[in-house]
């Protein structure tokens, strides 16, 4: 082992202390590196959709965590405009830009509810029950009020007591199907929320 006298030891210690103090004062070379925050959408799943707000129906891209594998619960973490959609070409208005918070809103309706005649409160029901109830009401109304022929005896097949209001975000394809179904039932009052 190296022979170090007490005096030498003190000198080495003092020199070490002095140089490390100088490093603290800013004389030490720092690595000139900066890490940019990682791009948070790197391997998220991208899903195309239509903004639900107004009738402009901007295209949106929903980015959700994970790759939809079996054990992964997806969660939408970001939404931005779809650059390939000819309506908005990637842009979104302030409401559309904040769509993420509508999806995660605590006030959002997440399951069907019914308020029966005379009842004060809304009652949670299942999807099957909701569809059954809607179908039952529609059928009852149609059976009671369907007009097969007019006064002149001409077949008209009208169902005037029920109307249908379609979503503003209905595409050509779903609009075609909607028209076929609703008109096939005899509904005359068909409209969409195709205006803001």
């Amino acid at each position: 082992m190296m022979d170090v006298t007490r005096r030498q030891f003190l000198k080495i210690t003092a020199a070490g202390l002095g140089s490390s103090s100088l490093a603290l004062l800013g004389f030490s070379p720092q690595p000139a590196l900066a890490e940019i925050r990682n791009f948070k959408l790197a391997r998220t799943t991208e899903t195309r959709n239509t903004c639900p707000y107004c009738s402009v129906s901007c295209g949106v891209l929903l980015y959700s965590l994970g790759d939809k594998s079996k054990n992964v619960k997806t969660e939408i973490i970001h939404i931005e405009g779809d650059p390939d959609n000819p309506v908005n070409r990637g842009t979104l208005c302030p409401k559309g830009a904040g769509l993420l918070d509508m999806i995660h809103s605590a006030d959002r309706l997440k399951h069907p509810e019914v308020r029966e005649p005379g009842a004060k409160d809304w009652k949670r029901i299942g999807w099957d029950e909701a569809f059954d109830r809607i179908a039952r009401h529609l059928k009852a109304d149609r059976d009671a009020n369907f007009i097969k022929t007019n006064d002149a005896g001409t077949t008209v097949n009208r169902w005037n007591t029920t109307g249908f209001l379609a979503s503003s975000a209905t595409s050509n394809e779903s609009g075609y199907l909607l028209h076929k179904v609703v008109r096939g039932l005899g509904v005359v009052s068909l409209d969409t929320q195709a205006r803001i």
Partner: protein, 295 residues
């Protein structure tokens, strides 16, 4: 196009030279005030992308909401009603970091690596290195950075450096429905601005022009102003922004002097210790002192 955004050209409180051999494309955001309708989509998109959610505030009687920039609001629309030659003009300015080529915040920052400037021109804060002193706010000619009350660190617009790094545009630019915001290379933005200014001039705004202040060596966020001769009309946009001379005095003169003085003291005490050694007290002196204290 490779943005080379990991290359940095400046780093706060660091004396080591940054790598600078490669020429990165300088990027810029162009804000065309004449095309802005003040819808605040940019403000919402900024909060959404950067995971910021401010407190729900109160209406103060104006559209400015919130009232000022804060750690959760990195961009803010500022509305000015101007009566000019018998005409009412609504000047709406998107306020936020200008990403100066010569950033006052970075120059004033004493924390190594808390503020960096990438080779593409973006000035970014790295909060993990921030010590919360607030000198960046003093150093900023545009009064942009804000300290968070939650973690006492400074925050401001990053020009979505994470998006730009992968070749995307900042969130605000992408969402802008009227095309008032544009993003691209600084050259392309200047070209676009030229067309806009020519159009504005043909519509009677004879003083229309580009705001790219030379006092901070140009900015990477530029404005097209209808009244470039009166930038102060736009919610007090500074006419000739400059880094406060105190930043230069402190960092250029006072800091090296103080460091020199401290280093000199350290070296002097080191030499004193080596040459003179420790202050030794002889047995006689010790006895004398003991006798004095007893008597």
């Amino acid at each position: 196009m490779a943005w080379q955004s990991l290359d940095i050209q400046r780093r706060s409180a660091t004396t080591t030279p940054a790598p600078g051999a490669r020429q990165a494309t300088e990027v810029a955001k162009l804000i065309d005030i004449s095309q802005c309708i003040g819808c605040k989509a940019c403000q919402v998109a900024c909060m959404e992308w950067n995971d910021l959610r401010g407190e729900v505030g109160h209406c103060a009687g104006v559209y400015d909401n919130p009232g000022d920039l804060d750690s959760q609001t990195w961009t803010l629309m500022r509305y000015t009603e101007l009566e000019n030659n018998g005409r009412l003009e609504w000047l709406i300015r998107k306020d936020g970091c200008m990403h100066c080529q010569d950033p006052g915040c970075l120059k004033a920052c004493p924390a190594p690596g808390a503020i960096v400037q990438y080779a593409n021109g973006i000035v970014d804060f790295h909060q993990e290195n921030c010590i919360g002193c607030g000198y960046c706010i003093t150093g900023c000619p545009f009064n942009i950075p804000r300290l968070s009350e939650k973690d006492h660190k400074a925050y401001k617009c990053s020009l979505c450096s994470d998006r730009v790094a992968v070749g995307q545009s900042p969130a605000c630019v992408k969402t802008c429905p009227t095309g008032a915001l544009h993003f691209g290379s600084k050259e392309a933005m200047k070209d676009h601005a030229e067309h806009r200014i020519a159009d504005l001039k043909s519509r009677g705004f004879s003083n229309a022009g580009l705001y790219d202040p030379p006092g901070v060596s140009g900015t990477h966020v530029m404005y097209v102003l209808q009244h470039a001769d009166h930038p102060e009309w736009y919610s007090g946009l500074p006419r000739d922004p400059k880094i406060s001379p105190w930043v230069g005095i402190w960092k250029g003169l006072a800091k090296p002097l103080a460091i020199g003085a401290m280093a000199a003291i350290t070296l002097a005490s080191l030499f004193h210790y080596i040459i003179k050694g420790p202050n030794e007290v002889s047995k006689e002196t010790e006895k004398e002192v003991e006798n004095e204290t007893r008597s």
